[in-house]
Assembly symmetry: C2
Homo-oligomer: 417 residues x 2
């Protein structure tokens, strides 16, 4: 008998039938003698519908009231799922974030979980209930309802798994697991049986939407074993954990791309000490996440440097840069959109020289110029023009030997007829 | 500068436009320098829609989970209303029942408010906010989300008004105020400028849907001044308070009718001591509200008695009666539906003999037989066949001189041409 945390996203509970299927899965675990805590997101389009409603009444709704509004989506989900479980003869109780003891920072829209008091949940286990917890939400010390921001339900599930010391945290989604790249654009993408936290973290950060980076970080930090699997099949899924066995000859584990990227360049910056600190300190204190940072050499006491932010933060970032012109003199600031960041990820590449070179080679052979490059021990990212991203990802997928057998066949001689 | 509690029902906030109109009303009060706390119900059909959703997943949903589900309706309302207020340049914060300090019994679906801690609300006043509170809900001592049952939002508003010692509690509805009878069936019904708690209580209990009885009781108990008025007009409305000035020659203030009534008769009951206590104790402990109770004289040590319950409780009540046959021997129990309880209400009738007689007279002149009668100091109720209730109400309305001048005109000579 184990303690299992299951997390179901909005599409997994997006209809009565799906809700019933989820209830059945939970019942199966209970019948197998497991203790089950379930984290659920808002059903299907509920959150978007609520946002639309709010826009009709306020062009720029206060974050506090948005949290108050949006948290109802998950509350509806947990209540309905609990009812569905009762209907098939099992007992369950639903809990809001605050009832589940989830405490967060006193920030609205993107709070971080500070701690979880699991007593209410353990009491429910003792009473024999499946515990259904509203994802994405919590309560601040001053009794305000908060939300965790995008991917919040994944984070809730992992944090909960850590708090109750679960044997495994299963993240149910609409895909079979983590793929070597986006299966929608590369038919021969392969499902990975297992992947390390670090690799998953890179992939997650790079826009492989299957798992939220913050959740992966949390899992790594508390060593929570994650399994990403489909809520529509019984397939094994992908296991995310500390140690992974390298597959023969695989140096690159996956290829990710992210279109939500804008480049900002600051040109002719006075090369006074602490310039970078000033610029990126100002951006950070305005809660703008900066990704790639590149600085070219200094000429005549002037430096140029570029960095990337998400599209949504672009204008704000430029405003911040302008606002510190007094402290940090510079000639001009410019920006660029319609970009994509393509990345290769794999713990294998550390010990394999030439992995990055091959990437640059593949991209330039497609006649595409690389605007920014950033590397880590297990990742190489290139920012290029947004189109044709498919061609680039496919070419890299093939170049790094990730194509599945089927594809070899599809691409094989018989195919040419 | 006063402290005003306003309550808006579901239809008053049933659309974007209506929500905006309510926000405007609140802003007007704030601009006049008043402190405002607002209690809101779920928008339009939200509650019914949620109930429909639940039925798809559970034929008999647990009350606890229903509370968890339904309380989201009010939470959505308060968040949206708060946003609408911000949009027109005023500040507001929304609060769930538990955030507003509303504590209830640990019962689901029909909890009573045990106490209200107004500190959070006063803090919000000091911060200059309009405070928007979710009606119909609260929290039990063990941190469970509860609902107050039907009419809960009225009760929330009155209890809140008492807790913050408000100058007035305005109940906004889709009618102009309290009428001498149902304006839908009697065109010449008159709006009452004021009415006493007791009279209002009788009318409320008798199915004048405008105010929930529990709310009126609460208002009487804590001497909260109520005003019932329309959310669509600026009309004065009806003031509900302790002392009211009698209008000249008006002994009967209003005429109410209630079709939600079933008669149950127990025949040939052994007239042993404590029989009534046993029967109605058993019904009460099964949470069945009994209205009229009539016992005919005892013959040969056997008594017959009848009582009325709401239609929904009829079968349950019969089952309870059957279940105590052992302790309370009787010959048979029978029941009747398709009834209506017609009542005349007015503090004036105490000092005016013959008021009840006139009622019986009017009804019998219509050739209708009276099945049960019950009287109080300020009320006479007759249970009769459901049809033709309109004729009965109209005839009584005229007989007690309640018809408005307009009607006298409409009914006057010019009209005959």
């Amino acid at each position: 008998m184990s303690l299992i945390v299951m997390k179901f996203g909005g599409s997994s509970v997006g209809s009565t039938e799906r809700m019933q299927r989820v209830a059945r899965r939970i019942a199966d675990y209970k019948e197998a003698g497991h203790r089950v805590a379930v984290v659920v997101s808002a059903m299907g389009d509920t959150t978007d519908d609520l946002i639309d409603q709010s826009k009709l009444l306020n062009s720029n709704p206060p974050a506090r009231e948005m949290d108050m509004l949006l948290t109802t989506g998950e509350q509806i989900s947990v209540a309905l799922l609990s009812m569905a479980i009762h209907q098939i003869g099992h007992t369950a109780i639903s809990l809001t974030g605050w009832q589940a003891g989830i405490r967060t920072e006193a920030v609205h829209g993107k709070a971080r979980i500070t701690d979880i008091d699991p007593n209410r949940i353990f009491r429910a286990f003792e009473e024999g209930h499946a515990v259904i917890v509203a994802g994405f939400q919590g309560m601040s010390v001053d009794g305000e309802i908060t939300t965790l921001g995008r991917g919040g339900s994944d984070t809730t599930a992992v944090a909960l798994a850590a708090a109750v010391n679960a044997d495994v945290c299963e993240i149910y989604t609409d895909v079979d697991g983590v793929y070597s790249t986006d299966p929608r654009i590369v038919k021969c993408a392969r499902k990975l049986n297992e992947i390390s936290y670090d690799e998953m973290l890179e992939l997650a950060n790079l826009g492989a939407a299957v798992l939220h980076p913050r959740a992966v970080e949390y899992a790594k930090q508390y060593n929570v074993r994650l399994v990403v699997r489909s809520s529509f099949t019984q397939n094994e899924g992908t296991s995310v954990k500390e140690e992974t066995v390298m597959e023969q000859g695989v140096t690159v584990r996956g290829i990710a791309y992210d279109k939500n990227v804008a480049r900002i360049s600051i040109l002719g910056v006075e090369d006074i000490p602490g310039v970078l600190a000033k610029v990126f300190g100002a951006l950070a204190s305005n809660e703008i996440n900066v990704d790639i940072i590149v600085q070219s050499g200094v000429q005549d006491g002037k430096a140029d440097f570029s960095f990337t932010v998400s599209l949504g933060d672009k204008d704000k970032a430029i405003a911040v840069v302008e606002s510190i012109r007094g402290e940090v003199p510079f000639r001009e600031v410019n920006s660029e959109e319609d970009l994509v960041k393509v990345s290769i990820v794999g713990a294998g590449m550390v010990s394999n020289p030439g992995v990055a070179a091959k990437m640059f080679d593949v991209i330039s052979n497609l006649g595409i110029s690389i605007k920014l490059v950033s590397t880590s021990e297990i990742r190489v990212s290139c920012v290029i023009a947004a189109e044709p991203v498919q061609d680039v990802v496919r070419a890299l997928h093939t170049a790094y030997g990730l194509d599945t057998a089927e594809q070899a066949f599809v691409g094989g001689p018989q195919d040419r007829r």
